[in-house]
Symmetry: C2
Subunit: 141 residues, 2 copies
């Protein structure tokens, strides 16, 4: 057991990059972003939009923004599951977060379809570049 | 705007500890655990069980286990949402992860209802103590 990374009984199926990106772009609206803040883990759900060059979401002023605005390494995750069937999929993105400050781009985003569900006046926008993406599926048993 | 942690337009409703624990214990099967590994953020979905004294899940040998087994600070998150209504809830737990090594307890867990969806022979069990729990709800608009 000691050297086995994944036991042979695993039901996990690895998804390729294209499948993972499609799930990220089309099949989820809420994801979770994890980062390091003051040496400790931090994790928040966000409603997001996946564009060609990254993941975009808006947020209010606060701890989350402070930690993410300046180019922090992050992991972004989306998943969906069916408890009855013990089945589901998940996609993980590794990337770098930074605040969007370009006025033309901010204007485009503010007029776009993505509104924060929580904060109607959230004026700060974060982009996460997608440096790597991976996905896994557990089929219905 | 600069000093406002949450703008007044926020639709977020804070849940109390009891409501948050109930959502954690009864209304979700899949959560996400975030931790720091080698100075970088890490995040994985897990199917879990919430017991009185913490959150329990099983995992295979590997990076995740190595990072979590020895008493790592973690954030654990569950959520549910309805995209149509831009509504949902989330619960965040801050705690400490450690591997369960007590044989009587392992025996109880192995015979219990929680099976890893991914790995049928996952022999390592992690407990996350609940040091703080908080929750938020966004009502349907």
């Amino acid at each position: 057991m000691r050297s086995a990374a994944v036991p042979s009984e695993s039901r996990l199926i690895e998804l390729d990059e294209q499948e993972s990106l499609e799930l990220l772009q089309k099949h989820a609206r809420v994801g979770r972003i994890a980062f390091v803040s003051g040496g400790k883990p931090a994790l928040f759900p966000v409603n997001y939009m996946a564009e060609d060059d990254g993941i975009v979401f808006s947020t209010a002023q606060g701890t989350k923004l402070s930690a993410l605005a300046g180019g922090a390494p992050v992991v972004f995750e989306v998943d969906d599951s069916t408890a009855m069937e013990h089945a589901g999929w998940s996609v993980l993105v590794e990337g770098t977060a930074s605040e969007i400050t370009d006025e033309a781009e901010l204007d485009r985003l503010r007029r776009g379809p993505l509104k924060s569900w929580a904060v109607s006046a959230a004026e700060h926008w974060i982009r996460v570049t997608i440096e790597s993406v991976s996905g896994r599926r557990i089929p219905a048993s």
